[in-house]
């Protein structure tokens, strides 16, 4: 991968959210490629301004979608982040906290607990004291939290006996597991309704996306190896994931093991088995619900639309469940969540989410977004600006429709605000 494939046509400029916000060539993909090239020169100027322009990349990959020459700008910036970490201004507390929370199941439980407390009057104090050294946007984001469960989803979903050719391993994620555990449970129910046996290994690890985007590839290889082992032991033919960001990372595991033929091969088999839940369900035999008149607009997560080219399937799935889709403008433009970007780049992130809110059509209150980062980001911004908008995973909307139509049994909902 190098920058020389760029022929300077400039078609990427209009696709880049940071260029739209700043109007600066150096905040465009083409400009960043020039900066990357400069950076490698022997007498290059490695100053904070240049690092900032590069590090402002959201890694949304919108430029990669439109680039006629397939220049992997997002990947190149990620590589640069990994190689030049010391030069990038970063919040060490944030990165350590991230490592602790997503690094293990007990970390995730703490993450869930803290998030739950952050929504109570007394808990705000506790949460604040822990979060004080984190960016201010952490507090803003807590407005976007849903009703939180007392358990991780992996502890309640359980595993079915494998069925030939229709067994899936459910990759529960981290934020999905702790914060959107309800969406995970509904994902499992829909998979079962569609005829799949669901296996949920409790020892599965974080996919590593947040670390990779921030240039911290260290722990990810170990997590990847464990996830690959879990899949191989599970007896499943597919790995189902409902977070767009995780899906992209899981589909790029082989690159982590370049030059190690054995692991590369195992990672390749794993990659090929990964499927997004909206894709699997759209292809499945789920029943058709007659239109209910409920209207929904779709925000396409970057790692759906650009990284995985998933666009139609969430819509097909929602339409089959009886929803009417009212499209928003620029549905594939980044909402500014972008992993931990909203924590590391609060100003740019706020500008982007404001645009996202403005593009939700008037009168539409249901927004579907298939990534936990987007869910939190858009919901928090909507609550802060008192916009009556309910941001949900498409799976939740679809589950609700099948539930109302009597296809799913009544559920005991174990949530506590």
């Amino acid at each position: 991968m190098d920058t020389s494939q760029c022929v300077h046509c400039g078609l990427c400029l209009s696709a880049c959210p940071t260029y739209a916000v700043t109007g600066l060539e150096v905040e465009s993909p083409r400009g960043r490629l020039v900066l990357l090239n400069e950076w490698r020169q022997p007498e290059a100027l490695h100053d904070p301004a240049t690092a900032q322009w590069l590090d402002d990349c959201l890694d949304c990959r919108a430029c990669e979608s439109v680039c006629p020459a397939h220049v992997p700008t997002g990947h190149l910036v990620e590589q640069w982040r990994a190689q030049d970490r010391p030069t990038i201004p970063r919040n060490l507390t944030l990165m350590r906290g991230l490592g602790f929370f997503v690094g293990s199941t007990s970390g995730l439980r703490w993450f869930q607990r803290l998030s739950r407390w952050s929504r109570r009057p007394w808990g705000t104090r506790v949460a604040r004291s822990v979060l004080a050294r984190l960016p201010r946007t952490v507090g803003d984001l807590s407005h976007g939290l849903p009703q939180l469960s007392l358990q991780l989803s992996r502890e309640t979903i359980g595993s079915d006996a494998p069925k030939p050719h229709s067994t899936v391993m459910f990759f529960v994620g981290c934020v999905m597991d702790a914060i959107y555990s309800e969406s995970n449970r509904r994902t499992a129910e829909l998979l079962r309704l569609a005829g799949y046996a669901v296996v949920t290994p409790s020892e599965q690890r974080c996919c590593g996306a947040l670390h990779l985007h921030s240039g911290e590839s260290q722990p990810v290889r170990i997590w990847a190896q464990e996830n690959i082992r879990r899949f191989e032991e599970s007896g499943a033919d597919k790995v189902v994931v409902n977070a767009a960001g995780c899906g992209t990372t899981l589909k790029e595991y082989a690159a982590l093991f370049a030059g190690e033929p054995q692991w590369e091969e195992r990672a390749r088999r794993f990659e090929d088995s990964v499927v997004d839940v909206t894709v699997l369900l759209a292809e499945s035999m789920l029943p058709r619900v007659s239109p209910t008149g409920r209207v929904v607009t779709v925000h396409d997560a970057c790692h759906h639309a650009h990284a995985q080219k998933i666009f139609r399937e969430p819509r097909q799935l929602l339409a089959r469940a009886g929803y009417t889709i009212h499209e928003m403008a620029n549905s594939t433009q980044c909402c500014g969540s972008a992993g931990v970007y909203n924590l590391t780049h609060p100003d740019m992130s706020e500008a982007l989410v404001a645009e996202k809110l403005a593009s939700i059509p008037d009168g539409v209150t249901n927004v579907a977004a298939a990534n936990p980062g987007c869910l939190l980001q858009i919901q928090a911004a909507a609550r802060r600006s008192r916009r009556n908008v309910d941001v949900q995973h498409p799976v939740d909307l679809v589950w609700q429709a099948y539930h109302d139509a009597g296809y799913l049994p009544k559920q005991e909902v174990g949530t506590r605000g």
């Binding site: 494939q5 300077h8 046509c9 400039g10 400029l13 060539e25 397939h70």
Partner: protein, 469 residues
């Protein structure tokens, strides 16, 4: 810090006057990669008034000015020649008004071309000029270059679609040219300014014609085993009196690249030429003309004829065609695109000539062109790390242009002269004509401060640029 820099900061704010060396490097090129030049500074004006003040300050200090939109020029129009300051218009990116009754839309120069049509689409209108870079290029740049595009065969180019414009002149005056009626009152000054490549004035507000969207359209792709045969088919269609909205051709190497690109259509790899034809208008007329074209095609050796079955399929075919230049990055480190125009009936011999130029200079050439109006876009593939190849590619390009003039055509259809074709201006025009051009330039810009060293070859003046990066 130069005096003028402080003065500029007082006008537009310090954050909009940029001189960081790495940033200037990023602004040192546009879509034309054979040359580059570092600007002295980049300024982002926020209004017509700010532009006016910036121009006045720089004029007082004798600093030249180059306007830039998205930097997609293929002739170096946005390169900072002669140590100039770049005015980047990315902040003037608002569509100010859509007047549905009078069919005029008022925009800033930094508005993206495709965004205009996107904004007009709900009301059943579009902005007709559609350069292939329309997803990124700006209206201000289109004004400067008098940009065309595939659909300009039927609808006309930018000059036919800009009704009125506020223009900052080199002396710092702001003048309004044209009128909303769209008919020049007196000499057509607006017509002179459109396509003057930023050498006479900089548009800061534009009023554009809204064209009703056709009620029906048919897109036909014809695959040929020979480029000559496809060329004859083009002539036959035009001779039959059909004016397609667009009539485009790509040759084998171009097809190879776009099929590897972001929007593959699935053209078989051994196809020698694809002819892309679009007919639009009222449903019955479209149907009749499409039938006429299809039966004309039967008279030629066509391998396969397809009609787009859905809007999605049609859009895919166009996305495939319109990203052809960028897709060259997949088969070559750099490309140099030519923009010659020839009389349509000479298409087959011109393509033969390009073939032999390709062989003679040992340069691979892919051909993408607006066949309907004889506008060729040979894409000369080269590696910028090989200085001998760079020199060969320049000579090959020049020879193609000279041949176009010999055939009775011209050196540019829509990409402009810029830095790129200065020498060929002397092939196209007599010394007397060039003197007349120069006289016009002096009326507007006696100190030669607007986009200096572009468009008009000035004998005796040295131009000093960095070599290719």
């Amino acid at each position: 810090m130069a005096d003028w820099q402080q003065e500029l900061e007082a006008v537009v704010g310090a954050q909009h006057v940029l001189t960081h060396p790495n940033l200037l490097r990023a602004y040192s090129q546009d879509g034309y990669t054979l040359e580059s030049a570092m600007p002295r500074a980049v300024v982002l004006p926020g209004s017509t008034e700010e532009t006016q003040s910036v121009v006045r300050i720089l004029a007082r200090h004798g600093v030249p000015v180059v306007a830039r939109g998205a930097g997609t020029s293929l002739s170096g129009g946005a390169i900072a020649s002669q140590d100039s300051v770049i005015l980047h218009f990315s902040r003037l990116n608002r569509i100010h008004q859509i007047d549905w009754t009078n069919r005029v839309t008022e925009v800033g120069p930094g508005v993206i071309n495709a965004d205009v049509s996107r904004a007009l689409q709900p009301g059943g209108y579009f902005y007709a000029p559609d350069p292939s870079s329309q997803q990124a290029c700006t209206i201000g740049g289109n004004f400067a270059e008098n940009s065309g595009g595939p659909h300009c065969l039927k609808y006309g180019v930018t000059v036919n679609h800009v009704l009125m414009a506020d223009v900052v002149l080199p002396n710092g005056e702001v003048r309004r040219f044209g009128n909303l009626a769209g008919d020049p009152d007196g000499p057509d000054w607006l017509g002179l300014l459109v396509g003057s490549e930023g050498t006479l004035g900089i548009a800061t507000r534009l009023w554009l014609r809204m064209t009703p969207s056709p009620r029906a359209s048919r897109t036909i792709a014809a695959l040929f085993d020979s480029v000559a045969e496809a060329s004859h088919a083009v002539s036959a269609v035009i001779a039959a009196g059909v004016i397609p909205a667009a009539l485009e051709m790509m040759d084998r190497l171009a097809i190879f690249a776009v099929e590897k690109g972001a929007y593959p259509v699935g053209y078989p790899p051994d196809t020698a030429a694809v002819l892309l034809m679009e007919i639009d208008g009222e449903p019955l007329g479209v149907e009749a003309e499409a039938q006429q074209v299809l039966s004309l095609l039967e008279g030629f050796h066509v391998r396969q004829v397809k009609t787009a079955q859905s809007l999605e399929e049609r859009n895919l075919w166009w996305a495939n065609r319109k990203t052809a230049f960028g897709a060259m990055g997949l088969i070559s480190p750099r490309y140099y695109v030519q923009d010659g125009v020839i009389p349509r009936h000479t298409l087959p011999i011109a393509l033969d000539a390009i073939d032999s130029i390709s062989a003679h200079y040992d340069i691979r050439i892919a051909n993408v062109f607006h066949a309907g109006d004889g506008n060729l876009h040979p894409l000369l593939l080269y590696d910028d790390r090989d200085p001998r190849e760079v020199s060969r590619v320049k000579r090959a390009g020049s020879e193609i242009l000279r041949y176009c003039v010999e055939l009775g055509g011209s050196i540019t259809g829509e990409h402009g002269i810029g830095l790129e074709k200065l020498d060929e201006m002397r092939v196209q025009f007599s010394p007397e004509a060039l003197l007349a051009h120069d006289a016009i330039k002096r009326v507007f810009d006696p100190a030669a401060l607007f986009n200096p060293g572009k468009l008009l070859p000035t004998p005796g003046r040295c131009i000093d640029y960095d070599g290719p990066p």
